[in-house]
Assembly symmetry: C2
């Protein structure tokens, strides 16, 4: 629980304030919700199941989070806060922008892999819940991540390592590519019989995204020819 950590300004949302980090009951409920979702590999868990799993009276769920969307939002806010703290830490490291980008790519893929419900929770809150919940997710998840990309790209250009890239387009392609390993895998498994996302698949995908993002897919000779033409 790092709601009170470095990211507090991003998390001053109704859901976050409804679940202050000091309340151990709220923490228990969030932990129970996360465990149930991991066990079930789905964000489809009911409030009464969460109450039962946590040993907390069901009425307290309503007291702390309002409703189920409020609890899911607080759960995502908790996980997002941890990730965003990592971004602040990463940005402050005395390493090159290229090295930061590599760590960032690995960080995104590992975060999705560590919290397998996070991806589906984001999709659910953004597209299937209330507009209010979607606004909250946008604020505490998308905005700080995009801001990190802006700073990292600017740092890389200033250091002479990156060419100029639009941060919004960059965010869209990188997050889309990382997200799709998790959101698209079931459908691909149906289509071509590949297995689930294991640690090994994650490592291979991190290496793939890193290589593609940094240096593309053209062979060096073809690449310099293509550059020479532009």
């Amino acid at each position: 629980m790092r709601l009170s950590g470095g990211m507090a300004p991003h998390l001053n949302t109704s859901a976050a304030t409804r679940a202050p980090p000091k309340s151990s009951t709220a923490e228990k409920l969030l932990a129970a919700a996360g465990e149930l979702m991991i066990a079930r590999n789905s964000p489809d868990v009911s409030l009464s199941e969460i109450a039962q799993q946590s040993g907390v009276n069901a009425a307290l769920v309503k007291y702390h989070f309002g409703n189920k969307d409020g609890l899911l939002l607080a759960l995502l806010a908790r996980d997002a806060a941890t990730e965003m703290t990592h971004l602040d830490y990463l940005m402050a490291q005395p390493i090159t922008p290229t090295a930061k980008l590599k760590l960032h790519i690995a960080g995104i893929v590992k975060a999705y892999h560590r919290s397998p419900y996070m991806n589906r929770l984001i999709h659910y809150l953004l597209h299937e819940s209330s507009g209010e919940a979607a606004d909250e997710v946008s604020k505490f998840f998308i905005r700080p991540l995009l801001e990190f990309h802006r700073r990292l790209l600017a740092e890389g250009v200033a250091a002479g390592e990156f060419r100029e890239i639009d941060p919004v387009l960059f965010y869209t392609s990188l997050i889309g590519a990382c997200d799709h390993l998790f959101s698209g895998r079931n459908a691909m498994a149906r289509a071509v019989g590949i297995g689930p996302v294991t640690d090994e698949v994650c490592r291979a995908y991190i290496a793939h995204i890193e290589a593609l993002t940094l240096a593309g897919m053209l062979k060096p000779s073809a690449s310099s020819k293509a550059r020479a033409k532009n």
Copy 2:
């Protein structure tokens, strides 16, 4: 309507056979469903609205497509068939693999832009409808697209233009990146106040994905240093 075209083997599905291309009633219903979704910018249209828009008796919807998922599946199959025919055509062109990849990237983004409901329809059929519908989408959409990537990557490696890349990882990152321009834009608009996906945004994104996929984001000098280290 190219259900009977070159892609027929991929489309020998229950939904496709339920909506044979010869039936003008089925065609009318599909056209009406597509128009309604474009007008509403949402796949949430009812069977009775589709019947009314097309001037076709509601009972015939059931006769031709079984239920709403059957109709949505047939609509996606129709659009997918058109796109897959384009892939076959593209693969047969006497141009370099790099040129084919560029046209392919533009083709994906433009297809999503042309049929704004397609993206949400794919997500709906893959994740929120029956497992049977998801299987169909996997077969007529994901499998031929992945097969195209396999052939294009092999051709590019053989021609000395591409380095070796795993087709499943490549598919995941490219489709995820293209998809996210459309599926993630609403959330980004909420977060940072950017506008909708216009023709201009599409053109900029095509150029971005093309440049990133082919040559990455490192500046040429940094890129050769990075390569020298590996």
